[in-house]
């Protein structure tokens, strides 16, 4: 087990990131999609912290805090929007929200 710790951490972040990506691709339920985005953002945050640990600097962690704030804001607006959409379409199926095309 002599994998470079930074590499290991980045790989974990990468795996989580891609899992989130898979999820957002295969899900049709919009809440699931929002959830998946959170997974991806979290993975990115993890990557920052790992990098920060590599260099022994605080700015990666500071970045994580901002990501956290952004995720919170994103989720709140997202949920409000989903609520609107739910009222409008009576479903959370993202494929239903495809009135505009061409």
């Amino acid at each position: 087990m002599n994998i470079h710790p930074t590499t290991a951490g980045m790989l974990l972040a990468g795996i989580l990131f891609v899992l989130g990506l898979i999820s957002i691709l295969v899900r049709r339920d919009i809440i699931f999609m929002l959830l998946s985005v959170e997974v991806m953002l979290n993975a990115a945050g993890l990557a920052f912290v790992v990098a920060s640990a590599h260099w022994g600097r605080a700015d990666g962690q500071v970045m994580f805090i901002f990501i956290l704030a952004m995720a919170a804001a994103e989720v709140s607006v997202g949920l409000a929007l989903i609520l609107q959409l739910y009222h409008q379409l009576k479903t959370l199926d993202s494929d239903e929200a495809a009135k505009m095309n061409g």
Binding site: T6, M10, A13, G14, F17, G20, L21, I24, I30, M33, L34, V37, M40, L41, A43, A44, G45, A47, F48, V50, A51, S52, H54, W55, R57, D59, G60, V62, M63, F66, I67, M70, A73, E74, V77, G78, L81, I82, Q84, L85, Q88, S94, A97, A98, K99, M100, N101, G102
Partner: protein, 479 residues
Amino acid sequence: MSFVDFLSLGPLITLCAASVIAMLLVAIWRNHRIVYSFAIIAFLMSMTAVIPAIIYIPHPVPPLLVIDEFSLFNTGLILTAGLIILLLSFNYFEEREERKEEYYLLLILATIGALVLVVSRHFMSLFLGLEILSISLYGLIAYLRARARSDEAGIKYLMLAALSSAFLLFGMALVYAFTGHMDFPGIGAALRQAGYLPVSVMAGFGMMLIGVGFKLGVVPFHMWAPDVYEGAPLPVAAFIATISKGAMLVLLIRFYQDIQGNNYPMLWWMVAIIAVASMFAGNWLALTQQNIKRILAYSSIAHMGYILVAFLSGVQTGLEALAFYLVAYFITSIGAFGVVIVMSSSLQDAETMADYKGLFWRYPWVATVFTAMLLSLAGIPLTAGFIGKFYVVMAGVNGHQWFLLFMLAINSVIGLYYYIRLVATMFAVPAPGQQTTVVPALPIAGNITLGILTVLLIGLGVYPTAMMQLIQQMMRILS
């Protein structure tokens, strides 16, 4: 933060303060007209604040921000564009939504985001600016809650923006992990020191490109554009088309310059492929499109491709051309959206071709303005768009990018087809009894704004020298 910092960041700080005041104002006294007036004043003050900032340039505010000619020029550009969009908004929202006041608040916030992008030279400020812009835009796009399509547009934008943010973040993390820096000059220095471009950094740049590409709306990250333009309120669409993209481009230039991207042919290749693909996709998609908003969306995709050609030319002229093109593109796009705004009745947006049939014979003024804007988009002389395209081609020739230029030429011809189709529709002689029922609002403020834009458009088209000199000066500093 020193006094000089304050002065230099004046425009940004003014606008931030304005956003807080506006929020309080809305909380205390909900009145459309008041908030509207306040927002205008805020923009004007912010623009005024640009003037003292000029004294101290270039003035870096480490580690996040930098104020120099380039950022101030673009700050001015964005504020002006924002102001014009603001001017066009009043009548549009007056009839459409019972709660109009938050719009101005969100617009100010989004502009703040764009300004942060323009002045930032650090991943953190980049990220924050981008997110301020994005999150304000979620609210703005879906602002007209009564419209089914606005939710759809909002959710699409939100999902894709969040996704691309995730990519951007992951990319930044990769770059950070292998360079140890998050500020652009630092990254550049670290790369120079390493003497080569580590693969993982390259991967990081690649993933960041997705985030940037999404905001610019270039292929293959462009798909949101038509739907969002169609679903969003028209002034917001204008905002996305111009300010959001412009700010991102400015940031891209700065980043590229700071890391000396020209040294990495790999990056060049990726952007070149994206540029060519964007030109083709945008123009092909618009070819027989019937919805004006979507046409403008596709057209903006193609125009991003053209801009990237200037970006890729690898010569000083290219950056100048980009800046000039951006100015021309701002004027033209806002003008085009302005016409659609002015043409829209309080009942519905004037978004189908049918609404414009024979427009010239009914409302010659509006049709003339729209024609001028479309011709500018097409790059026909007497318009700013022509000089812009000329400048871009010039940069390309200077940089010997013959292949890209050839693609640009082909695409200009394809693009002509749909612009001219629109023009033809406006000038078509309507058969008797075939008049459309849409009664455009044609507000006075909107007309005046359009008039100013047209004058600017033709002024830049006929006498571009002053603007060119300004840009040249500004760009000399950057490199």
